[in-house]
Symmetry: C2
Subunit: 425 residues, 2 copies
Amino acid sequence: MTNDTVSVKPVQHPSATISPAALRWPRGFRTSVGAAAIKKAGRDDLALLSMPMGATAAAIFTRNLFAAAPIEVSRRHLKDSRGHASALILNSGCANAATGPRGLSNAQEMVDAVSLALGCAGESVLVNSTGVIGVQLPMDRIAPEIAHMAARLLSGAVDASHQDSLEPFARAIMTTDTKPKMSARTIDCGGGRHVHVAGVAKGAGMIRPDMATMISVLATDAEVDPRTLDRILRHAADASYHRISVDGDTSTNDSVFAFASGTAGACDETVLAQAFREVACDLAKMIVCDGEGFERSLSVRVTGAASRADALRVAETVASSLLVRTAITGGDPNWGRIVAAAGRAGVAFRPSDLELRVGGILIFRDGEPCPADRDLVRAAFNGSHVDIVISLGASEGAEAEANSDTFLSCGLTTEYVRLNADYTT
Amino acid sequence: MTNDTVSVKPVQHPSATISPAALRWPRGFRTSVGAAAIKKAGRDDLALLSMPMGATAAAIFTRNLFAAAPIEVSRRHLKDSRGHASALILNSGCANAATGPRGLSNAQEMVDAVSLALGCAGESVLVNSTGVIGVQLPMDRIAPEIAHMAARLLSGAVDASHQDSLEPFARAIMTTDTKPKMSARTIDCGGGRHVHVAGVAKGAGMIRPDMATMISVLATDAEVDPRTLDRILRHAADASYHRISVDGDTSTNDSVFAFASGTAGACDETVLAQAFREVACDLAKMIVCDGEGFERSLSVRVTGAASRADALRVAETVASSLLVRTAITGGDPNWGRIVAAAGRAGVAFRPSDLELRVGGILIFRDGEPCPADRDLVRAAFNGSHVDIVISLGASEGAEAEANSDTFLSCGLTTEYVRLNADYTT
C-alpha cells in the first residue's frame, strides 16, 4: 500500500529504536473479560482493563450530539481526575446510547461495580459501550459479571499468558468485526531499557473520520504526564483514525483511550509519539480491511492542492464516493467517477491541471484520458488494494508535497448492504 | 407520502386552475428520436427537440468542476442568445465528459449537425449527453443519424400522435432508468384558453442535490420572457431536484432545461410557477422511485430547527446516511441510526429536545425511546414508503413550521451495489 499517512514506516531515532513487538499489554496493566449475554449468550462481551498502580489517561470522544451515556460519564471522570485513571470497563452488544436518564445511571452503575470490586475511586474508572443504539443494558447480568471479572483479576486466577495477551480483550469488544485488531511496538531506549506500546481496536461499521463505532485502547508503560499523553494521542489519531472511512457515518460511541502506567520510566516524546502513531495506523488499516462486507481496500492520495485541507477534502470525497467505491468492488476501471468525485469536492482547481494515476498508471491528463494499456489498467483496479493518486496541479514542488493528504477506504459491497439491512432484527 | 416539499398539492388560483394533463409536448414543440448505437445497438439513444418558431430558454447546470463538454457549449449558447433557443439535442450512452478538446469539438459537431439540418443558428441549439465518463462519442454514427432525425421531423414522417407524445423522447434519454419519466399539467386560464406544461427526466444514478446525471426538460406553450422563465425554473428545481438523493454523487452532466414557445399566450407567473413546480416534483419523485436498485423510498421531514438551512442539513444528512438507508432496505426498525445521523449533521440542537416519529408513531422523546407497539413500529419501517419526521425543538409554533424542510431518498440495496460495481464493463 503506497499510503504514507495511514501506513507509517518505522523510523530510526538517534537515541532509540522502534520495532514490532509481541501482542501483549505493557507492564502495569491487567485485564479480565466476561460474558453477560448482552446481545448473544456464550461469548465474551465485557472487557476490563485495570491499572493497579494507576496511570495517566487521555481520550478522544465522538462529536456526535447523541454521545452515548458512558461517554458522558468518561468525559466527566477524565476531567475530574485531571487525566488519571485506574480502570476501563467496556462492553459490546449494546451502545447505551439514546437511552436517557436510565442509560446514564446504568453507565454509572458499571463504573460503581468496577470501583467497588477493584477498590479504586469511582472517578478513576472510565467506561464505554458499543452495539445497538436505543436499547437499555441488561444490568442484572452485567453488574454481577463485573464482580466476577474483577475477582478473577485480583485473585490471579487468570493465568499469566492469557492475562498479558491483547487478544481476549480485543475479542470481547468485537461487534460485527470478523477479527480481533491488535498491534504493538517496542522502543529500545538503550542501556537495556525497553518501553512497550500496545493497542486494540474494534471497528466494522459506522466508520468515518472523527471516528465512529470505533473503540480503540492504546497503552504504554512509559512515564508520560497527562498533557503530553493527550498530545501524543491526538497526533496519532490524526494520522490514522481520522483518515479512514467505511460508510461515512459517525457513531454515538466513538472513542480512543490512551493510558500510560509509567512502570518503564521516561521515554523521548518524539519516539513515543512515533510508536503510538505506528500502532494507531496499524489498527486503522485493520479496521478498514475488516469493514463490513470488505473485499478490497482503496487509498486516495491527493497532492499539489492549494492547501493541505483542500487535499484532505478531495481525498475524502473520492474515497467516500459510493460510485467510486462500487466501481472498486467491481474491479471496474470506470475512472471517470474518480475525476467526477474530485470535481464536486468543493475545492478550487483547474480540471485541465488534474492528473490521475491508478496503480501507478497515468490515466487522465490535460483534461482527457491518456492512452494506457487496457489490461494494465484493468489489473490496477483488480488487486486486493487499489492505489489512487491525484495531482491537482494547484501547487508545485515542495509545496505540492506539503499540500497533500491520503485517505483510506474500501469497496462498497452487496455484503455490506446485506449486513446493515438486518442488524437489529 | 407526507412530503410537502417534493409532493406539491394542486392549488386553486383565483384566475386559473391547474390540473393533470395528457403526456404530450405543448404546442410549438416537435421531437424526433434516433438510434446511433452509442452504447448498445438497436435502442433509441438520440433525442431532438425542435422549437420551429423559437422559444425562450433557461437552464440549470451541474456545479461539478468536470462539467461535460456539451454543458460548456450549452452554457455559452444560452448566454450568447440571451435566453433563446430553437433546438435541443440529447444523447444517452456516453457523457462526453472528461474528454478534452476532442470532446468539445464533438459537442460542437452535434450542434452543427442540428443547425445545418434544421436551418437554425448554431447558437440557438443546446446540447447535452449522459452515460459513461471519459469515452469519446462515435461521431461517425451520430452526425448522420441527427440528419435523418431532422429530416423525419421536417418531412412530417413522424405520425402526429407519436410526434406529440412525451414518451419516445423520455425513452431515448434513459440510461439505467427502468421507466421513462414524464409529467404534465394544464392550466385553464379562463375564456377557453389553456396553457400546457410538460416535462421529461432521466435519473437512476449519481443523484443528489444540486443535481446529478439527471437530465430534465420542461416545456410550456406559455409566453414567458427569459428572466421570468429562469426564475420559475430555479423555484421549481429548488422544491424538487434539489431535495432528492440517490447516492450522494453529483455528475458532470446534470442539467434541467426549460423552454417556453409562447404559442398559447401569456399566463400569470404564480400559476405557471406552480405548474412547473408540480411537474418538477412529479419527475423528482419518479427519479427517486426509479433509483438504481430501488425497493423502498424514504422522506425525512425536519421541523423546529433554528433555521430552514439547519432543517435541510439534518434532513439531507439523515436521508443520505448509508446506515439509515440500509436499515430502510431491511425494513429494520433500527431508529437509533436516525438519531445518530441527526446528531452528526453539524447542526446545533439539544438531543433531549429531539422528537422522532416514523409513520406517525412517536419513537423517541426526552432523550430516550418511547414505549411504542413493536408491531406497529415494524410495520412503519416496512411499507413501500418510510415517513420520518424529526422535530428538533429549537424553535416553536409558526417559526418551527417555517424552519422546516423535507428530503427524499430511497433504501440502499444490494442491487444498487451490483448495478454500480459493473457499469462500464
